[in-house]
Symmetry: C2
Subunit: 160 residues, 2 copies
């Protein structure tokens, strides 16, 4: 546990952070400019584009958003007629959400834009390196979740 030097530009959490920031901004600028959609809103739209009909809770789980964020994004999108909402008559706490006509159009317009952007980013990485990146991100997310759980347990006194 020797205190080696820490060089910010080589430190993984820092690099991940600035890279994701740049990547995310580059894409968000496009669709926000063209469709007035925020990042959380895009997440909701893409979740529903992928799964047709979900509750807010499902969306939160699928897109790793907290329920406040989902609630607000959904409210705005309903307001703008981008989503449709159908109450679950079997459990009136929840409601099924899906893309309205306008939502379909927006989704259909953003998807190629997003995939094109992704392609550009990865353009000159060899296939093998892209595969390695994929694996690495999977492992990192998994480990980070584990570590987060560990540290929270320690802070909260473990026995809950």
């Amino acid at each position: 546990m020797a205190a080696r030097r820490l060089i910010l530009s080589q430190f993984l959490p820092y690099r991940l952070s600035i890279t994701m920031q740049a990547v995310s901004e580059g894409l968000a600028t496009r669709y926000s400019h063209e469709f007035g959609i925020t990042v959380p809103e895009w997440r909701v739209i893409s979740a529903l584009g992928e799964h047709q009909e979900m509750t807010a809770r499902d969306i939160a789980a699928h897109a790793r958003m907290n329920k406040t964020m989902v609630s607000r994004a959904v409210a705005t999108l309903l307001e703008r007629n981008i989503l449709l909402r159908r109450e679950n008559s079997g459990d009136r706490r929840e409601a099924f959400l899906r893309l309205a006509r306008r939502g379909d159009d927006i989704y259909a317009a953003i998807v190629p834009m997003a995939l094109d952007y992704e392609r550009k980013l990865l353009r000159d990485l060899p296939k093998a390196e892209i595969a390695a990146l994929d694996r690495a991100l999977t492992v990192l997310l998994h480990r980070a979740d584990e570590e987060a759980r560990a540290i929270n347990d320690k802070i909260n006194g473990d026995a809950e």
Copy 2:
């Protein structure tokens, strides 16, 4: 430019975003809990730990922060006697910042914690995959910066 399906869980910008979020949180929880330091404050401290003495402007450039963020983090850290500030008598707009005694202590305590965390995250990735991840992040950041510039130029009408 065919509108292939977009699967959120496989879409690079999304994966980067959630991974960095988990990674960043896992580390930030530790030092915020132990030292009451925020992420921007840690960035400033680590920049100064690495480079001894810098102006706010240098810090912003080195740690990819905007000047508002630096200004606020520095103000808090000065307040808490974690930094020292020495006005540049040759150019009184700027000031040189460096870690105070307390800042050194905090830095010395966080660095091993941060490196340990990084080690844990990368624990079961083979050396070759880590190297591939490094290269990939470098390329991605570079491409994303390029794309951001391109899109901004397009939006602002290019000829500035």
